[in-house]
Symmetry: C2
Subunit: 397 residues, 2 copies
């Protein structure tokens, strides 16, 4: 029964045993060699060997095809992974008018993906029932053992406190005050993990995207809102009420316009989609999407370019403050604005360097903050919801 | 030979053995019970018992008098500590015109403290020689074994990169670019640990002060400069070039006055001592210190009070941004301005709540950010230098 053993090692059992530490590292990182496991767990090579032998005998760990197990001369190291048949997890992203669902196995392969519309202002109870039905259908259609589901990760469009309560300032206003565990736990009957969508996006970039192998970075998201996440030593910072990484609500002008959060002059008012899109619509005399504005800019439309450049400049100024106080080795730009590529990146980097404390010219390459476009702009929050379970982050109860 | 065993467990040996994990936790936290050690290390109780028996036999661990080993009914748990005779460490705080030195043992007792003047613009080489002489004298005077010195922690008035190079924007300009390990290592012939003075201050507050038992907090320092530190899961964030926590250099007015860092409108220009002191001097027509202004305010002088209140309000606005993006459970106010107590704290808290994202009224007590005055305002950076060694933070080489 590899499943029960895996679930115990990953979710319920004593996390201090060598077997549990090995399985947790493999769940976080996917395919690894025995040497990489020893480094990541801090366990002695001999302890790792003994424990791996047992885990392979019971079928929890298998040899994987390929995988990046480090470079070296001589015989290549055996690539190991968790047995995909030993367990699956579900990621849910709760959006404005519906949810997306993904099923993945513990070897990090996506098995199934689905979008389900619920209409504006759907209630938490309705979402829980619909999610349950969608999971049941997905498992039946794909002939997956329902008992193999080790946990459900839920990505929410708003701050989520460490005990799983959605805070105000959520994009889905009806959800403010919702207790995620109470809402989904009894319906799903599985361990629930939850966090803010930007924190999930950071986990996706760390596990599979632009921050792979990077334990310290900032994700800065430019979309209909401005948000982000701070990752320190491989852990996403959540904050005492769940608002860590809410970069959009730094006050850059205390006498500025009112923000939906109740403060004035928040960075989000200047650096999100909303203003450039309104200006573009006025200019073109019709309703537009940001994707259209970005496409026009990439085709060379000077007005669209300027709107994106100005957004990059103000976002870079805000990021400069974040750089001064976090000073991360890497900043990943996420959100749909990232689709503009260098058009947003160049003015953003110039403004960052102008306003931050440690400037490029002052330090050598190794001490510079690298700023890059994220790998995922459309499905980062969804993939990250799976990542919550695989990395055991944001466990409720 | 308990000394050699301790040094190996604490500094040089495999950090993964139970003995090493136990000794490192005891070094970080001081007096603990066996149960507290098991919780802190994540080791099984039986493993802790076996390892502790060996450590007590060899004299590395001893029974300590008193100590907070948790409350409960029945027989009190035995309080254990590292043997103070098993090792000592030195903390150095490099200031504007000299250094301070403290010697402490591994059970966290301060044995000796000294201030040494070197005059303005002393060179790194001169400091290294003077520090060596002062350490030798301190060990001779107190009949301490020189071979018992397990490491020297150095607290620097400027950003220090993880590889030990003092960055620009240092209060001691001559030190910019100095490699701390190259400067002190060959002279002292002992493991060297180094970090920025605000990061050291945070370590002191975490180990012995207002943040005791708190693994997540922000230190915000108001003094001749504005600085601070971010602590996440018990680890001080340093940043890729060493500038994490440089709160004074967040740009709050991009068109404001020029700052010594080369940017405009930094928070430090508005929230440090410098402006209120200049105004107080003009008002009173004489040279004054901030301590005098604070004393006048505490006696009821309305002008001095207003200067402190205004500083609190602008500092609170800056902190509001930090709160929005870090959302820590605790903010500790440090620096000499903290001596003003409630006079600075009240306007600061009011401004924080006005400008930050998650406001007091929106969340219950457990999710609020608590803001408090630090315990150490005079010697935090010095005690924290000892803390660098005891917590194995900022090791160079």
């Amino acid at each position: 029964m590899p499943l029960n053993e895996l679930k115990s090692l990953l979710i319920d059992g004593d996390p201090g045993t060598p077997e549990s530490r090995i399985v947790r590292v493999m769940s976080e990182r996917g395919t690894l060699s025995a040497a990489q496991i020893a480094t990541a767990t801090g366990l002695a090579r001999s302890t790792v060997s003994t424990a791996l032998a047992g885990l392979r005998r019971s079928g929890v760990v298998i040899e994987a095809a390929g995988g990046d197990t480090g470079k070296g001369v001589g015989r290549p190291a055996t690539a190991l992974a968790l047995n995909p048949e030993a367990g699956t997890c579900v990621g849910i992203h709760l959006g404005l008018d519906g949810f997306r669902l993904v099923v993945a196995d513990v070897s990090h392969s996506v098995i199934f993906e689905k979008t389900e519309e619920l209409g504006r202002d759907y209630t938490p109870a309705r979402a829980a029932t619909a999610v349950k039905r969608a999971i049941d259908a997905a498992y039946a259609e794909n002939s997956l053992r329902r008992s193999g589901l080790i946990g459900v990760g839920i990505s929410v469009s708003g701050p989520v406190s460490p005990d799983g309560v959605v805070q105000r300032a959520s994009i889905v206003p009806l959800w403010a005050g919702t207790d995620i565990r109470q809402t989904f736990g009894p319906v799903l009957q599985r361990p629930i993990f939850a966090d803010n969508e930007s924190n999930c996006a950071a986990i996706a970039e760390m596990m599979w995207g632009a921050a792979t192998g990077c334990e310290d970075f900032v994700l800065f998201k430019i979309d209909v809102g401005v948000g982000g996440a701070i990752v320190h030593r491989g852990q996403v910072m959540t904050g005492v009420a769940g608002s860590a990484g809410e970069f959009g609500h730094m006050t850059i002008d205390p006498d500025g316009e009112l923000c939906r959060c109740g403060n004035r002059g928040c960075l989000e008012l200047y650096a999100s989609f909303v203003r450039p899109l309104a200006l573009a619509e006025r200019l073109h005399g019709r309703r537009m999407t940001m994707d259209e504005v970005i496409a026009l800019a990439l085709e060379g439309d000077v007005g669209s370019r300027r709107l994106i450049e100005d957004t990059g400049a103000i976002a870079g100024r805000g990021l400069g403050m974040i750089g001064a106080i976090i000073n991360p080795p890497l900043i990943v730009i996420g959100g749909r604005m990232a689709l503009a590529g260098d058009l947003i990146l160049e003015p953003l980097i110039a403004a960052y360097d102008k306003h931050t404390l440690i400037k490029r010219r002052d330090v050598d390459e190794a001490k510079r903050t690298r700023i890059t476009i994220g790998r995922f702009t459309q499905n980062d929050a969804l993939l990250g919801a799976v990542g919550l379970v695989l990395r055991h982050h944001g466990r409720l109860g």
